[in-house]
């Protein structure tokens, strides 16, 4: 793995004019071709980092390189590599989707004729072709998000950054977005995704970083991170609530109500042992589910303190 990383961030510190320190000496590498999750509670600094990569936020201290191109010294070339889906809607709501896409391509120097073809390709891929000539203001929230994904593809970027692309999007559309982005990644585009739906990150991403208070607190392959999860919590639906609970070494059992139990099971103990013990006490397990998504459990442990209220985007009137 000697190829240039898609993204290399070194000692990035950002203090906003109002004195808020959003990033504190953050360093991060994302390999070319990766599908990378950037997680963290509200206000952790994810959007600030993304804003600095995409040159929407002034660089403070530190350096950023995109495929070896310095955002500070080779800004224009570096920007050509990036496609950005921002957290908030930021297209002109009075323009038509097709105009928005063709103009965006134009800003990257893509001639109109090619831009029109690309616009059609991505509008179709994201099921927006029927809406191409509608006023963008009239699109639904989910359509607006997809339009921003299409827009980010207009320069066919090598690095696609999605800042909470699925916020407020229904499950069906979310799935179709995942499929689209997976396909983009498969064709060689590096993808960086932020999301608060951890199951999404777990399903899609190969590597992961967790930011908290402007610092990286975890940076590892998804698989090894999940392997760290030594205890899993399950909720069991049971038949009979009257029987006493068995004592199993290392396992914590707790009755939630008459029809269900919570079980915290260490990795070392097989579930079949738990079932056998329950069976022995006359308790029949009808069904079982994870109490929380695995990544979610890890996340809560790493980011121990409760997330501060989102101070960022409040107060903006529509």
């Amino acid at each position: 793995m000697t190829s240039t990383p898609a993204l290399s961030v070194r000692n990035l510190t950002k203090t906003y004019d109002n004195g808020v320190v959003a990033l504190r000496g953050l360093s991060l590498d994302v390999a070319a071709g990766d599908f990378f999750a950037l997680l963290g509670p509200n206000g952790a600094g994810k959007s600030t980092l993304i804003g600095m990569i995409a040159s929407l936020v002034n660089l403070g201290e530190g350096e950023i390189e995109v495929f070896g191109l310095s955002v500070r010294h080779q800004r224009n070339q570096a920007m050509s590599q990036i496609g950005l889906v921002p957290q908030e809607i930021n297209f002109n709501q009075f323009e038509k989707p097709v105009e928005i896409l063709v103009n965006q391509a134009g800003f990257y120097g893509v001639p109109r004729k090619i831009a029109l073809q690309r616009a059609e390709k991505y509008l179709r891929a994201l099921s927006l072709w029927d809406k191409r000539d509608a006023t963008s203001r009239t699109l639904s929230g989910g359509m607006k998000r997809r339009l921003m994904i299409a827009r980010a593809m207009m320069n066919e970027p090598r690095l696609l950054i999605l800042d909470e692309p699925t916020a407020g999007v229904d499950i069906e559309i979310r799935r179709s977005m995942w499929q689209f982005v997976r396909e983009i990644n498969r064709t060689g585009t590096t993808v960086i995704l932020t999301t608060h739906y951890l199951e999404e990150a777990e399903q899609l991403c190969r590597n992961i970083a967790i930011i908290d208070h402007g610092r990286i607190i975890e940076h590892s392959p998804m698989r090894s991170l999940l392997a760290k999860l030594d205890v899993e919590s399950f909720v069991l639906d049971i038949d009979d609530g009257e029987h006493s609970l068995p004592a199993i070494d290392g396992v914590r059992l707790q009755r939630l109500d008459n029809g269900s139990l919570e079980a915290e099971v260490p990795k070392a103990i097989a579930l079949s042992e738990v079932f056998a013990a329950l069976h022995h006490h006359g308790i029949r397990v009808k069904s079982m589910r994870n109490k929380a998504n695995r990544l979610e459990e890890l996340f809560m442990r790493l980011v121990g303190n409760p997330a501060p209220p989102p101070a960022t985007d409040a107060g903006r009137s529509p």
Binding site: S55, V57, N58, N76, N90, G106, F107, R112
Partner: protein
């Protein structure tokens, strides 16, 4: 970006501005036509008939260049200030900020759009003027170059206004408190030779005076100001305001936090 890519980006920006002007034509093209028709009717025909001559020229003919210039200036300024501030307010300025376009391309695209609007309105007003009087261009080259220069200067001024503006009030204040008075006192309706010496000297501080007079020279062949001085002033303002605009955009003033 290669030269060709830069050109495509520039064309894209300009075209988007033109589409915007066309989309809201009832706000961009019609109001100046109505206002100027009234000016020609009231000041030119009705009152002008009583005034007689100004600098040896029939009053209505005297005000034609001034009124055209006034329309060009206010419309160039108004176009860029509302379009660029709108892009900031609606956040779609970010579409440009994340792109590889250099700052000068963004500025040139907006200025190109604003100048086009100014010239379009100027042409409309010229046609209206031709209903009221006979318009002949004494010096077409001076006419065209002075009007384009003036449009460029005020596009930059509008851009600066938009950069500093934080709310919609801020884009209305400068036109009302600065631009309009400067235009009315810039010799649109009178020759400054009519003014007492003190006020004549004060008038020389007004850049619009130089634009109106250069343009009037182009149309009528008369001017209160030597032509070379008028051009020097216009070019100086264009360089100064243009440089400042570019610097603001480059440092991300009001755009990047």
């Amino acid at each position: 970006m290669t030269g060709h890519e830069t050109w495509t980006a520039l064309y894209t920006l300009w075209r988007r501005e033109i589409m915007r002007i066309a989309r809201i034509w009832s706000q961009t093209l019609v109001p100046p036509a109505i206002t100027m028709t009234l000016y020609f009717l009231i000041f030119g025909k009705l009152i002008g008939a009583r005034i007689g001559q100004m600098d040896g020229i029939a009053y209505i003919d005297f005000i034609v260049p001034g009124l055209i210039m006034m329309s060009v200036i206010t419309n160039s300024y108004g176009n860029i200030v509302s379009s660029f501030f709108g892009a900031k307010f609606g956040k779609h300025v970010e579409e440009m900020l994340v792109s590889p376009m250099p700052s000068w391309v963004i500025l040139a695209g907006y200025v190109g759009g604003a100048v086009t609007r100014g010239l379009a309105v100027g042409t409309i007003v010229l046609f209206i003027a031709m209903f009221f009087t006979e318009v002949r261009l004494a010096n077409p080259l001076v006419t065209l170059s002075s009007v384009v220069l003036a449009a460029i200067v005020f596009s930059f001024a509008g851009f600066i206004n938009a950069t500093f503006a934080r709310k919609f009030d801020d884009v209305a204040i400068i036109p009302a408190f600065v631009l309009t008075p400067l235009t009315y006192l810039g010799g649109v309706f009178y020759s400054i030779s009519l003014l007492p010496e003190l006020w004549r000297n004060v008038s020389y501080a007004n850049p619009i005076l130089y634009m109106v007079n250069a343009f009037r020279y182009g149309v009528l062949g008369v001017s209160d100001i030597p032509l070379a001085v008028a051009y020097a002033v216009m070019i100086a303002f264009a360089v100064l305001l243009g440089g400042f605009s570019l610097w603001l955009l480059h440092t991300g003033r009001g755009l990047r936090s």
